[in-house]
């Protein structure tokens, strides 16, 4: 049972959070202008990185705020959490 640092509520057990998959995948500006393939990539395709991964979390049992995190999918260790309006950290 990991602790996840909610940017607002502080560290809480992982059961209080829900997972939102890859971060920084914006809704397309003009879905109607996309090809079927481009649209499919938005709907279904997400990176599945082994290692540092920028992803979305929601403190669903707590403050209900979404936030982003850089987490290592191999070790599960959270390297940092950041708010939605923060830019994606540059990962080495």
């Amino acid at each position: 049972m990991q602790l996840i640092e909610c940017p607002w509520c502080g560290p809480r057990e992982e059961v209080e959070f829900s997972y939102g998959g890859q971060a920084h995948v914006p809704y397309p500006d003009d879905p109607g202008g996309l090809s079927d393939e481009e649209w499919a990539h938005y709907v279904f395709f997400r990176d599945n990185t082994k290692g540092r991964f920028a992803e979305r979390w929601n403190h669903s049992i707590g403050c209900r705020r979404w936030f982003n995190a850089i987490r290592d999918t191999a070790t599960y260790r959270f390297e940092r959490v950041y708010r939605l309006d923060d830019p994606k950290p540059v990962t080495p």
């Binding site: 998959g21 709907v43 395709f45 599945n48 990185t49 082994k50 991964f53 999918t73 191999a74 599960y76």
Partner: protein, 410 residues
Amino acid sequence: MSPRTPGADLPEHPDFLWRSPEPKRSYDVVLVGGGGHGLATAHYLAKNHGITNVAVLEKGWLAGGNMARNTTIIRSNYLWDESSAIYEHALKLWEGLEEDLGYPILFSQRGVLNLAHTLQDVRDSVRRVEANKLNGIDAEWLEPDEVRKICPVVNTSADIRYPVLGATYQPRAGIAKHDYVAWGFARRADEAGIDLIQDCAVTGFATDGNRVTGVHTTRGTIAAGKVALCAAGHTSVLTDMLGIRVPVQSHPLQALVSELLEPVHPTVVMSNAVHVYVSQAHKGELVMGAGVDSYNGYGQRGAFHIIERQMAAAVELFPVFARAHLLRTWGGIVDVSPDASPIVGRTPYDNLYLNCGWGTGGFKATPGIGSALAHTIAHDEPHPYVAPFSLDRFVTGALVDEHGAAAVAH
């Protein structure tokens, strides 16, 4: 020798299993991933197509990934025609596999019960049973008293939080001994001259236009006529090297085992609402699993609260399990696709074949996908069983949505 105690042991393995060859410079076919699917594909390439200049590359030890970590449930009672077709193809092969491999794989057709706890579970279950029957798959809907007859330790009291309202039952379904299965395929492949190369991690691919020409590994570069990826949870790591995007996400899936117990549980029970699945394996241990951990993870471990919830479900459904002991927990990495169906077939590279996205269905599909993928590689044409599972279904929208429809995982 004294008479053996119940649950004493399993059939002995053969005196020889496989060589540990040095990789050659070149093979006609390179299969990346020495798990169940890679080994089965190797076997059927040799057996059905006479293709033996084949290497199976395994980054760790053979069958050490999900093959070593699953709960060994075998069934074919999936909802959609496309799914039940390939799983039923697999089940028919399972039924002759012991003979084919000359290996005691302990395939025990003890039946699988999928319990229904809500009215919607009942509707979904009947729907699946009726579809299975029309597809020629053995399937029955059982009322609670019939469930109790098949598995007396299931709590079918109406007075529990989520009473059992009935179950689907597939009598031909069952379990097998996973290591024996993998080793049986491996030994046959090795006998056919196929090189099983362990401790050989793929670090990159050599490509030329639309073709993959070779595989860079920790044991050198290996040229390849055709390449197939059978790496389950690690598929994305490989496809990332090739610049191919595949819509799978890798999640931890945990399982656990108890000590050896006198037989109490004669079948396999799965429950989605009261989340747990259980069988009692050959030596007498209870083997159990539950849902996947929510987040992406390659760590072959999950969080313990999943296990605790699973134990609560187990004791709720099987009150007599209360003082059974959890002996060992472990985790695998399942690659889950958006529609909970596999992704198999051709790729943007002419001679590269993809086989992934099996989620929790990988083990039961082993011989089926092995033979269908071997066919696909040999004929350079998707076998009819795998054709519906092409990558482009996500573009057209023609999904095979097993979780949306059946609500039955594993």
